[in-house]
């Protein structure tokens, strides 16, 4: 090259080399940086990139529907949108909370509390902040998608229960899993789980498998595409033995009276109707129950959230005479036994009165009765006599053999056992020996004995069917695991059913419950809830709280029945009131049978 430059006019070569080297070293540093990110840690950053843009949205599976025995829909689902907070969507969601709360008409403290509830959940777990949002809420969320990328709506399917608490105590309700279930990893927060009744008992069957949608999102949370879509598997439907028409009749007949009704098919044990009063509206749970409503229900002395048909444990009163009668007849003590009722029975120095003794108008005695008449007229003196002859161990034996004092095994959670008092029980409980005088009380259903309505319904069903005691159940096809047989002689069944037929005919204790043209019979019961001595110390309101409970158990037809009904009317004073309720249920049963097939 034609270079004619002076040496001093050239740039210092050494320092130029130095600059070259410096640049080279700088570039090597950059290459090192690239190599680190793109080669060494490529997998890690690729995963982070995926985490950035892929969001997993749960698609909640609808719960199984619940149908009655004729396929009539009882419990349905409806689509509903829930507003969720996504904590992994960038943006400062904490700072946005007050504005979000305002936009969705929520109290900021309530939103904070809900978020606090999820503090241990992983960040990618969406937090539901408002259930069942309105169109206005949806519009707010859509309009602020850029401003609040952390706010999202997800469709859920929600429970729709019958109105006015129809069958509420047996269907139960659903809610969010409790903290223990979440902590154990069994259930995710926001999942729906059965809390009581059939919803709880058949939760596994009713619960489907949630689906999952994986979507691509951009930095502002806008969905750019769907990667995969795993559709939810709906839960299995539940078909009940319940007959909606009979249920409706039972609900109407019991009205607002505190108590319970159980109707079942004695041939299978399938429950036709089950009512508990007072009741509650399970739809309120689905919509998010207020703390106020919850505490009102929990603190109500009549316990609306309980299913009294399986959970009320009360003295059976005269209904228990059926047990004493079966024991006497099976032991061949009662068949030809007559007792002359003078209105009072003396055991030692203690006088036990018959109910006729204290009624306002005479006669105050039954006179001479055989066992069939004693059942029809519910003569206490007859059963005092029979009971003290049999002794407590024989009465207990038959009571236990016919399913009292133990769970029936009905497919509902938290069934109560009731109590059959035995000398061993008394010894263990009170460290006292059994007094024979107590046997006299037990024989007519007073004393320590307690039963549940469903136990009594099965009891009468079993006796009238000749000793077949199936397991009561609500779901069609429920395994027959709790049933048993106690073979009764034809004479026993004949005598008792004849006596029960008399109960709803002139001269019986529930003649007013007579059904024209229907073979119907049963047994009344009036159970004291406090001793006579105790009652005398009370007055006015307090006294009314201890009005006797009224019972009625009935069957139709009386031999080989197709329906057995147990009615508990708390503070109903007299068994005949309960009997009229049972009669309406039986009528509805025949009407329903005429209207359609009730084959299970």
């Amino acid at each position: 090259m034609a270079q004619v430059l002076d040496r001093k006019d050239k740039l210092p070569g050494g320092r130029l080399r130095l600059v070259e080297w410096a640049i080279l070293v700088g570039f090597l540093g950059l290459v090192f940086g690239l190599w680190q990110l793109q080669i060494l840690q490529a997998a890690r950053y690729a995963a982070l990139a995926q985490q950035n843009r892929i969001r997993t949205e749960p698609i909640p599976a609808p719960r199984g529907r619940i149908y009655d025995r004729q396929g009539r829909l009882l419990v349905d689902n409806y689509p509903s949108f829930t507003a969720y907070l996504l904590r992994d969507q960038g943006g400062n969601w904490r700072a946005d909370l007050p504005a979000i709360a305002r936009g969705l008409f929520l109290a900021p403290e309530a939103v904070q509390a809900e978020i606090q509830h999820y503090r241990s959940a992983p960040v990618y777990q969406p937090i539901p902040i408002k259930q069942d949002i309105t169109a206005a809420d949806e519009a707010f969320i859509a309009a602020h998608r850029d401003q609040f990328p952390e706010l999202e709506t997800i469709m859920a399917s929600r429970r729709l229960y019958p109105k006015n608490g129809f069958a509420a105590n047996l269907i139960g309700y659903v809610g969010e899993p409790d903290e223990k279930q979440i902590a154990s990893g069994q259930l995710r927060p926001g999942a729906i789980v059965g809390k009581s009744g059939l919803e709880a008992y058949y939760n596994q069957q009713l619960t489907g498998v949630d689906g999952e949608r994986r979507v691509l999102v951009d930095a502002r949370g806008r969905v750019m595409g769907t990667l995969s879509d795993r559709p939810p598997q709906p839960g299995q439907d539940l078909h009940l033995t319940l007959d909606e028409a009979v249920q409706m009749a039972a609900e109407t007949a019991l009205g607002n009276r505190p108590g319970a009704v159980v109707a079942l098919d004695p041939r299978t044990g399938g429950v036709l109707a089950m009512v508990s009063r007072p009741t509650f509206d399970p739809n309120l749970f689905a919509q998010g129950l207020s703390a106020q409503q919850w505490s009102a229900w929990v603190n109500d002395p009549d316990r609306p959230l309980l299913n009294k048909a399986i959970q009320a444990q009360l003295a059976p009163g005269s209904v228990f005479k059926l047990v004493t009668a079966v024991a006497g007849l099976q032991q061949n003590v009662a068949e030809n036994k007559t007792v002359d009722c003078k209105g009072v029975f003396y055991y030692g120095a203690h006088a036990f009165h018959c109910w006729v003794w204290s009624r306002p108008e005479p006669p105050h005695e039954h006179g001479v009765l055989d066992i069939q008449q004693a059942i029809t007229q519910s003569c206490d003196v007859y059963f005092y006599t029979l009971g003290s002859e049999l002794g407590i161990s024989l009465i207990d034996k038959y009571a236990l053999a016919m399913g009292l004092g133990q769970r029936t095994g009905i497919d509902l959670p938290q069934e109560a056992k009731g109590l059959v008092p035995t000398p061993a029980w008394k010894e263990a409980r009170f460290h006292q020996p059994w007094y024979k005088g107590e046997t006299v009380s037990v024989a007519i259903g007073q004393g320590a004995t307690t039963v549940t309505p469903v136990q009594l319904a099965r009891l009468i069903a079993g006796i009238a069917s000749g000793g077949h005691f199936p397991r009561p159940h609500l779901a069609q096809g429920a395994p027959d695991t709790g049933g048993f047989d106690l073979p009764l002689t034809a004479a026993t069944v004949d005598t008792i059913t004849a006596g029960m037929r008399g109960v709803v005919n002139p001269g019986g204790t529930a003649a007013s419950a007579h059904l024209q043209g229907v073979d119907f019979g049963g047994k009344t019961g009036t159970a004291q809830t406090i001793s006579d001595v105790g009652l005398r110390t009370l007055a006015g309101r307090a006294r009314r709280a201890y009005v006797d409970n009224a019972w009625f158990v009935g069957v139709s037809p009386v031999r080989n029945p197709e329906i057995a009904v147990c009615v508990l009317f708390q503070r109903g004073a007299e068994g005949s009131f309960a009997a009229r309720i049972a009669a309406q249920v039986v009528q509805a049963f025949y009407r329903s049978q005429a209207a359609g097939s009730t084959a299970e």
Binding site: L11, L16, I23, A49, R53
Partner: protein, 357 residues
């Protein structure tokens, strides 16, 4: 000057990088509100090419001689932007020219290169402390004005020009060491004077994981984009970080991250190689320069471009803090592109002069 006098090697590399830049801007802004920016970039590139040819026709000696005047106008311009900018244009960086906003400080860079080259290029064996002081003051005044805008990134790009001039101008190592020490001691003071957003950027750079959605967000998203590119990249317009707008400003300051996500380590290496080729070619030209000041001008351009590439790519891969320094020839933005082409035009002129005595 005939066309064959141009440095076709240099021009080839420059145009290749520019085309890659336009393609990347297009790919990174698809479907966003910046989708039309690449067209603008093409216009600026064409304008830049014209500017390059024009600049290559102007005798660099005239420019060197006029440099005191140019310097005076520049300082006055920066002061005007500072005073008027806020009131008139609601920004102290830009002045509107022909419907576009041009950044005055970018062109002042060119003037500083020339001024420093002239001062340091005068044949001397070594610099006295007062020489050093004059150079520092010469660069410090406009840098201070830019810093007040406030534009730390651009102000910082003036520093390597001064450093290059001092190193090549014959500054002794001891002087350089003391100056560097003084600079280090100034750092706490600088921290104190920094704007909160600048401090946050520094902290975010130091520990990007501490607050991934706040200060460190940009750095982290940039690193994710680069890392997700892997060896061969995800393909043009296929980068999820860029497409999903997780990567901030993927067509300007973080264009290298978008590029690295789409073309991987291989692409990144190629691009860095092109920049290295460009710089080495410039140094080669500096050696051929007819006199020391001319060589110093070329090395000033080298200093600015190398600084930009090192700081910008260093920021993208997480080795440098976020400073808002664009990647020359790649980043979308007219001022930066026009400056680069104008500077290269100057280099072309100096190269042509090697045959002239």
């Amino acid at each position: 000057m005939r066309l064959r006098d141009l440095d076709w090697w240099l021009l080839g590399v420059v145009l290749l990088i520019t085309v890659m830049g336009v393609a990347e801007i297009h790919s990174a802004t698809l479907g966003t509100r910046f989708a039309a920016v690449w067209v603008k970039q093409v216009y600026f590139a064409v304008a830049g090419l014209v500017l390059l040819v024009v600049a290559s026709q102007i005798d660099y000696k005239l420019i060197l001689e006029a440099s005191p005047w140019l310097y005076g106008v520049s300082v006055a311009g920066l002061a005007a932007v500072l005073v008027l900018g806020k009131a008139v244009f609601h920004s102290r960086r830009w002045i509107p020219v022909a419907g576009s906003h041009l950044q005055v400080s970018e062109f002042v860079k060119l003037v500083i290169i020339v001024v420093v080259a002239r001062y340091c290029g005068e044949a001397r064996l070594s610099l006295t402390w007062s020489d050093v002081g004059r150079v520092v003051a010469l660069v410090g005044l406009p840098a201070g004005l830019v810093l007040l805008e406030p534009d730390l990134g651009t102000a910082l790009t003036y520093v390597p020009i001064a450093a290059m001039g001092l190193v090549l101008g014959g500054m002794r190592w001891r002087q350089l060491g003391l100056l560097a020490l003084g600079g280090l001691l100034m750092m706490p003071l600088a921290w104190h004077e920094m704007h909160p957003y600048q401090r946050e950027r520094l902290v975010g750079f130091m520990e990007p994981q501490t607050d991934p959605l706040g200060r460190g967000y940009q750095v982290l998203q940039s690193k994710i984009a680069v890392g997700a590119g892997g060896m061969w990249g995800q393909g043009m317009a296929q980068g999820s970080q860029t497409r999903g707008e997780f990567l901030p400003v993927p067509h300007t300051d973080f264009i290298f991250a978008a590029f690295a996500e789409e073309y991987g380590f291989a692409g990144g290496l190629l691009l860095l190689g092109l920049y290295l080729l460009l710089l080495m070619r410039l140094i080669h030209n500096a050696q051929l320069a007819p006199d020391r000041s001319a060589g110093m001008v070329v090395m000033g351009v080298v200093a600015v471009l190398a600084f930009h590439v090192l700081i910008n790519v260093g920021m993208v891969v997480g080795l440098m803090p976020v400073t808002g320094i664009p990647l020359p020839l790649m980043s979308s933005g007219g001022s930066s592109l026009l400056f680069t082409f104008a500077a290269l035009g100057l280099v072309m002129n100096i190269r042509r002069a090697r045959f002239v005595n």
